[in-house]
């Protein structure tokens, strides 16, 4: 499904640009060359006598040669233009990739609420509109970045319109995570931990501040320390317990002050 969508957006984005470029039809040129060559061979079949006396033949041959040369030059020019178009096309791959990514991102919204279902037709129409409205740049790579930014925001605005208020931040978060994941900047295990939390319960290290740190919090700290980027975090947390105490509201501490004052 993913490669299909990607190709669709790629062709879509490129078709809109191609309107400004004229591609000479090489096929027509090649047919002309073949026709001329066939005429030449047929002419040769009718040869009688000294070839140099046949004025008509010589004229036909000269004409054929001249036309053939012109066509060859045009074909070479067309091939050069096509190569240039192909190179330009390649620069729009990131645009197609981003569009496909965003489509699957908003498809996931259906798990938040089954009401949130968006058709591909609607999405494509939005994409085409973004292509037409986005700012123009001479430099193709700049245009690619501008297109991605424009379309991402346009999608956000249009999808937001159909969401309950409480789900709008979820949408922005999902969009940002999807984009960062595509750039390889989000670790899958860390993402899973953020969403689902601890999986292990058996640990040897004891809670360093059981008066104010709940066992639940301590278990979460121990589990997060299992992730590679958080290696040693449990020991670090215990060693810097006073610093982290400031994060946690401690009503029991306040209660002890009340008791003391009385």
């Amino acid at each position: 499904m993913y490669p299909y969508l990607w190709e669709r957006f790629f062709k879509c984005s490129f078709a809109l640009i191609q309107n400004n470029l004229r591609v000479p039809t090489q096929v027509t040129h090649r047919i002309s060359v073949i026709t001329l060559q066939s005429a030449y061979i047929r002419t040769q079949g009718h040869l009688q006598g000294n070839i140099l006396d046949d004025e008509e033949l010589i004229n036909t041959l000269s004409q054929s040669k001249a036309t053939s040369d012109t066509i060859q030059a045009k074909v070479a020019e067309a091939e050069a233009t096509e190569a240039q178009i192909d190179a330009t096309r390649e620069l729009y791959r990131p645009v197609a990739a981003r569009a496909s990514l965003l489509f699957f991102c908003i498809s996931d919204l259906a798990t938040v609420d089954p009401m949130y279902q968006y058709s591909l037709t609607w999405f494509c129409a939005l994409f085409i509109r973004a292509m037409e409205d986005a700012p123009q740049f001479e430099d193709v790579s700049e245009r690619g970045v501008a297109l991605n930014d424009w379309f991402t925001y346009s999608l956000y605005v249009n999808v937001c319109r159909s969401l309950f208020e409480r789900h709008k931040l979820t949408l922005s978060f999902l969009l940002s995570i999807a984009i960062l994941k595509s750039q390889g900047r989000i670790d899958a295990n860390e993402w899973r931990f953020l969403l689902a939390g601890p999986t292990e319960t058996e640990f040897s290290m004891k809670n360093p501040a059981s008066q104010w740190l709940t066992e639940k919090c301590w278990t979460e700290v121990l589990n997060v320390a299992l992730l590679p980027e958080f290696a040693g975090f449990d020991r670090h947390f215990a060693d810097n317990i006073d610093h982290y105490k400031a994060c946690i509201p401690h009503p029991t501490f306040l209660l002890s002050i009340y008791t003391h004052a009385q």
Partner: protein, 199 residues
């Protein structure tokens, strides 16, 4: 009012108050080194999840602002006329309403602006209102009216009939857009085709 003659207790009070005050900004509190420099903004979300899950939403907002920009946490207010311009004769507007929300005033205002005030028909669906709604929809399609169907959640059994009518709209023959105003709750029974375009 806390009172204490013990200087040590005063210090303790200020520390406690300080700690509680700081905890309001827990999502911005720096970690101790080396983790403060080592962890990315995303990884710091995991840390907050562990000890202050109530602050994760605020931290997510800050995260989105950092990576996408502030406009992604400020959804623009609902613009009915822009939504209308983007819809067409075969795609109705559906308003999914929370308790107390009523777009009728905005609809009437838009109708006035678009000079459809005299061509705006509404029917509140309920017992036996199905045939009336059907008649209005067909009339609307022929004469070019705006038809507003209110309280679709009260006419669940009529929804399939409405779906057939909407699906049968021929684009070239219809000049206006039917509108429908259901409420959430019973959306499971709302025809799937409608869900393509929402407000």
């Amino acid at each position: 009012m806390l009172q204490s003659t013990d200087a040590g207790a005063c210090t303790q009070v200020s520390c406690a108050v300080q700690g509680i005050f700081d905890s309001n900004e827990a999502h911005e509190l720096p970690l101790a080194e080396p983790f403060e420099s080592k962890l990315t903004t995303f990884q710091k979300l995991l840390f907050l999840r562990c000890i202050r899950p109530d602050k994760v939403m605020m931290a997510i907002q800050a995260f989105v602002v950092e990576h996408m920009g502030v406009r992604f946490i400020e959804p623009p207010p609902f613009d009915l006329s822009a939504t209308y311009r983007e819809s067409d004769a075969t795609t109705p507007l559906i308003f999914v309403l929370s308790a107390g929300a009523d777009p009728m005033l905005d609809l009437l205002k838009l109708a006035d602006e678009m000079q459809f005030s005299k061509k705006f028909e509404k029917v509140s669906l309920g017992q036996g209102q199905g045939p009336k709604a059907e008649r209005l929809l067909r009339e609307g399609m022929e004469r070019g009216l705006w038809v507003c169907l209110q309280n679709c959640h009260l006419a669940v059994s009529w929804m399939p009939a409405m779906e057939r009518i909407i699906e049968g709209i021929e684009k070239d023959k219809v000049r206006s857009i039917p509108l429908a105003c259901p409420t959430p709750g019973l959306l499971a029974s709302f025809p799937l085709l409608e869900v393509r375009y929402q407000c």
